[in-house]
Amino acid sequence: MTPPDSSPAPAAEKDTTVEVASPVPAAPAAEAPQTAAPSSTVRIGWAVGGLVMVVGLAWLVQFLVGWVPEATDGTGFGRVAKSIEYPVYAIVLGFAANALLSSLGLRDRMSAAFRTEFFIKVGLVLLGATIDFSIFVRAFGPAVVQACLLITAVFLFTWWLAGRLGIDDKLRALLATSLAVCGVSAAVAAAGAVQAKKEQLAFTATLVIVFAVPSIFLLPWLANVMGLTDAVTGAWIGGNIDTTAAVTAAGAVAGEGPLQIASIVKVTQNALLGVVAVLLTMFFAFKVGADASPGTPKKITDPAALKLLWGRFPKFVLGFLAASVVATILGQTMSPEVLEPRLDAAKDIQVWALTLAFVSIGLEFKVQSAKEAGWKPVVVFAAATVVNLVVGLALAAVLFGGFEM
């Protein structure tokens, strides 16, 4: 039962394991039916247990958000408690539960239920319903310019630095794409494009999480210290933090306005992932030359390139846009007395979905993968993160400085 691989990463490897598990060569035929059925039942049982754990922790988060400020009212901690947003409780509880489950040897068995990407995408679709489409339209232009400039600058810097340190080209591509575009999803797309090894993907995904978690708290705090406007704060958070879940968490910590702009900026970056994947695929195909697989696009106009572009396009962006458009149209045509409670319900479920995602961030993290990372990619990641912070802040200030919410 125990998987031989000891270096799994958040979300990424779990999926790979699911895919790779089925073609394992058959053991003795007589044994197969006896071991397969109970194994699958047991797996489902553990996954259900994991889901109960995630939902239970999310419920505890909702409870603590209300209870802690009341219980500490009038004490020295009371003022601090009022300013603690739900992502903080969710991530802390996720890590605490991770430590507990790991010490009991249960974490890996339950991990099928820890689906950060799924929960965050459901939450983002619902978040779209809270964003007036006119804000999206006005923010889209600056968001595209920021995304293009930031992706190019961070990708080229990371590629260059990783090359200087002698890191393998495929790992360079994974590091550069995850840092420049959108974290784990980008690393997965890049891994497919350059045919990277599974462990390179696992390891990149771990680095993404290790660097993203402190950013969730650090960036809103720095934005507050620097007195940035909501729009600039959101654009800075959305452009800087790699993984979409962490962007949403940091935006929620910073406030409603920053969350809206951060999600628009991040969704724009997500949408550009397909372009990066196609360019990487073609670049590596040219490098590999005759060894490239027959379906690999050689030109941007190849039908294969367009197919890849659509294949890598994050579909949840369509849901995000659809929800925003529908809510905006209904806002013009329905009375607020009827519409508001309905949008409030969507907002409440959105907070639940995001809470489930933030709890899962902590639950998915694997210390083992971080230990196996090695120092060179960590140096690359740290340096590129600093470049991302500085360039991102400058771009956010220029492009969103005069943005009215």
């Binding site: 031989p4 990424a12 999926d15 393998d168 993907l201 294949g311």
Partner: protein, 54 residues
Amino acid sequence: MSADSGTQTTPQPAESSPDDHKKFSLGEDWAATIVGLVIFTLCLVGALTPEMIP
């Protein structure tokens, strides 16, 4: 190369393409989109109300 030798200490039983991931990830992407839109629709038609959500 140096990065490989310096960073991957765990022997892998077999090299597998991470693109295997694509199938599952894309399925999850669509699933999340559909689930999100279904929930939104249920809220809009009044089938899910704020009172029902803990």
